[in-house]
Amino acid sequence: MAKTYDYLFKLLLIGDSGVGKTCVLFRFSEDAFNTTFISTIGIDFKIRTIDLDNKKVKLQIWDTAGQERFRTITTAYYRGAMGIMLVYDVNNERSFENIKNWIRNIEENASADVEKMLLGNKCDLADRRQVSKQRGEQLAVEYGIKFMETSAKASINVEEAFYTLARDIKAKTEKKLKEASNPTKSGGHALRAPEISRKPPVWLARCSIL
């Protein structure tokens, strides 16, 4: 039987409770929204396979509980993540301010070169907005990451956001593979640093399916 995908990327959704992580994921994986959702306890993931430049890319997207108290448990699942969506709610100043804490959290628990992206969700509710698009953009620039405003409810930019993140990870992965296969030119041997068993280059983490 033919292989079902060429790449497996593990992605992670993080951000304060109630910003809409589960809804964003549900929009992306089932193309639907429902108002009777339940809060996330612990952690779960969903799968969707997308096509990127004729490659089948299987996205395994992990959804975590937002409340700070559960971070000891949820950070256990950061390991091996290749992309992280940082989500805030444009109608909630606090969730935006907390993005910097989430970034710190990532720095402590995820691999250093994980791809990140900032999402300002619930952009369908224009009248209750507390965080302007400009401020979102500015913060993203500060961290050198990409940014989009999304709405899980109105289905705005959710597809685009995941495709963008996946495309960036794919580019990074392919670049690394190329470097690794040309060790003389690019010093690929350096990738095989002595600490390989602990901190492998990010693309190797793909094997974490095991």
């Binding site: 033919a2 409770s17 809060s39 409340q67 000891t72 709405s151 068993s197 492998p200």
Partner: protein, 638 residues
């Protein structure tokens, strides 16, 4: 799920089939449909399509504004539509994603288990699952499980083409398949060293060749399988000491006797309840009552009354008059606390961020609590206001603990049953008093329970414990939700009432909840191990069990496990004795046990009385699990 652009070819069609994915509440509309095997160019699929229009539609709740803003929506053919909850209605499962399936006891139900751990349950209304399974035979190779005669394991194409693909891909300088098989053999004999060696070799190879997915998968798969080859016999005595060194587990040399059957009983009746009251209304024989409740739960109409005792709102020995007095006092007290937050001015709030944080969490959660249950259904539902008020008042009652996610789950069934704000509040307080450590900031209560659960699995089922350790799951994090909200998310609205009242009796022992977890794991053991599920799939499978755990059977089994433990109580190591509420013996109980067992301080037993490698910096790893955890890392990065 994916959307094929082409027209598939139907090969086999079965009608009268209901399909349920994971996390579908049982009160969602079930529609009947057809299940077919359809051939596409990308492979054969199981395809389920609904035949009826579902009865309830929530689409009228949707704001008109957003239905206009759908320029980014993926296009989908009209015929597929969405269900009442807005979900895509056609379900398509690639046959090559199927890992195993199991016919449930009634024979009308079939659970499909996919490689990534996802589950689907298929209900056949017109015929037996067997006939569907036989129609699958032409398209899939599968074998009957040796351990579970209702379970079938799909033979992966990989199993036969593995060697071929290694050879074709020319990844290894040496003869690829030889290398891999030699590796597997060594792995079995000398697991740790072999893995380390192989890791470095394979890393070399993979770094210099573009790894293609099938090989990675195959290697991962192979490794997984090799780890489960020739699993040691359940009796721990004949497990080689060496095996345990690798996973860092002290040898626990207790052999449990066979599990006795523990039939469930009938629920407590009004008559039985009245018989336990004296003329003044005191409950005279609460111990006997608790035993009856433990055995069979409480009749639905009686719950309203008995729960108030189980949750310590009313003392058992209170007379009718005393209860009336107590009720008045508690009602006053409740409204006094409610007034405290009700009278908070907006300006006060701006200077009280801890309060605001708690309030905003509650607002978010109330809107997401059991909304499919009729009691909480629909917009502007008064019961949601009560849910909110009780939780806000609880914040004033216990401000330090505050509001933590999961609490609304615990309150919801209580409010629904009491249908009274004051009584629900005090019963909720009683419940929280039993489980508040689950919600504390440092999460020590959760960590303790997870590590105790691990210890219990090590003792009752070393084979499973070893499997979990070897698949990076020894920290038992995949049971987090079970423990945090006491299975609230795993059982339907009726079953959860019975489970909770049974747990509140504190019978037959302390931490019976953990034995319930052990019982569920015991039921799932074969599926986890025969599907060779890894870290990710174990979590998925356990999450997807939601609403599919059989309560009476699980309770019988949990009680049986309790009796097994009690039968060898004198031989149990202290860290186990303490879990089930026995006094520690404070001596080297077992001849060949590791000394840590004896020197453990039961009260400070967070690390499960085995040496701690935890760094203490909010590290997620605790106890000896770190050993297996790190080993897992090595493997997973291979």
């Amino acid at each position: 799920m994916f959307e094929p652009t082409e027209q598939g070819k139907d090969i086999s069609i079965h009608s009268g089939v209901v399909l349920r994915g994971a996390n579908t509440r049982e009160d969602d509309v079930h529609s009947t449909g057809t299940l077919s095997i359809v051939e596409y160019t990308f492979g054969k699929c199981l395809e389920w399509k609904p035949t009826e229009v579902s009865v309830v539609s929530e689409s009228q709740d949707q704001d008109p504004e957003w239905s206009l803003v759908n320029t980014h929506t993926r296009t989908r053919t009209v015929s597929e539509g969405t269900d009442s909850l807005g979900r895509s209605r056609t379900v398509r499962i690639l046959l090559c994603d199927l890992k195993s399936f199991r016919i449930n006891r009634s024979g009308q139900q079939l659970t499909l288990m996919l490689k990534d751990g996802t589950n689907y349950v298929v209900y056949f209304q017109l015929f037996n699952a067997d006939s569907f399974v036989s129609s699958l035979k032409g398209f899939l190779k599968f074998i009957k499980s040796r351990k579970d005669r209702n379970m079938y394991i799909v033979m992966e194409a990989e199993d036969s083409v593995l060697e071929k693909s290694f050879a074709e891909l020319d990844l290894f300088q040496e003869n690829a398949s030889d290398y891999v098989w030699k590796f597997v053999k060594n792995l079995h004999d000398r697991p740790y060293e072999t893995t380390m060696e192989a890791c470095s070799k394979l890393t070399d190879i993979l770094l210099h060749k573009e790894p293609t997915r099938p090989v990675e998968e195959a290697v991962a798969d192979l490794l997984n399988r090799s780890l489960t080859l020739d699993i040691p016999q359940p009796t721990i005595l004949n497990v080689a000491g060496e095996e345990y060194e690798v996973i860092g587990e002290p040898g626990v040399s207790v052999v449990l006797p066979p599990r006795p059957p523990c039939p469930r009983g009938a629920p407590l009746t009004q008559e039985q309840w009245e018989r336990c009251k004296d003329t003044d209304g005191r409950i005279t024989n609460s111990e006997a009552l608790k035993e009856m409740i433990f055995r069979g739960g409480i009749s639905p109409t009686l719950r309203y009354e008995v729960w108030k005792y189980l949750l310590n709102y009313y003392p058992w020995e209170a007379t009718n008059a005393e209860r009336i007095e107590l009720k008045n006092k508690k009602t006053e007290e409740y409204f006094a606390m409610k007034l405290q937050w009700k009278t908070m001015t907006p300006e006060q709030e701006t200077r009280f961020s801890d309060f605001r944080d708690r309030k905003s969490l509650i607002e978010k959660d109330v809107n997401r609590t059991d909304r499919t249950h009729p009691y909480y259904h629909g917009d502007n539902n008064d019961h949601l206001v009560q849910l909110y008020d009780i939780l806000m008042t609880y914040v004033m009652y216990n401000f330090d603990l505050g509001y933590v996610q999961g609490m609304s789950d615990l309150l919801s069934p209580i409010l629904c049953l009491m249908d009274s704000e004051v009584e629900a509040f005090w019963c909720f307080v009683g419940f929280m008093n039993k489980v508040s450590t689950n919600f504390e900031m440092d999460q020590e209560g959760m960590k303790l329970q997870l590590s105790q659960l691990h210890s219990l699995v090590v003792l009752t089922d070393p084979q499973l414990a070893q499997y979990l350790d070897r698949h990076e799951s020894g920290n038992m994090f995949f049971c987090f939700r079970w423990l945090l909200v006491l299975f609230k998310r795993e059982f339907n609205a009726n079953d959860i009432l019975m489970l909770w009242e049974i747990l509140w009796t504190d019978l037959p022992c302390k931490n019976f909840l953990l034995l319930v977890c052990v019982a569920v794991l015991d039921t799932e053991k074969n599926v986890l191990m025969e599907n060779r599920y890894g870290f990710t799939e174990i979590l998925k499978h356990i999450n997807d069990l939601s609403l599919r755990i059989e309560l009476p059977w699980t309770l019988s089994k949990a009680e049986g496990i309790y009796h097994q433990l009690m039968a060898v109580a004198g031989l149990l190591p202290d860290h186990i004795r303490v879990i089930i509420g026995l006094e520690p013996q404070l001596k080297t109980a077992i001849i060949d046990s590791e000394e840590e067992n004896a020197t453990a301080e039961p009260q400070l037993d967070v690390n499960d009385s085995r040496p701690s490698h935890s760094t203490g910096s909010g590290n997620v790893i605790f106890g000896n699990n770190e050993v297996s955890f790190e080993r897992g890392i090595n493997l997973s990065y291979m």
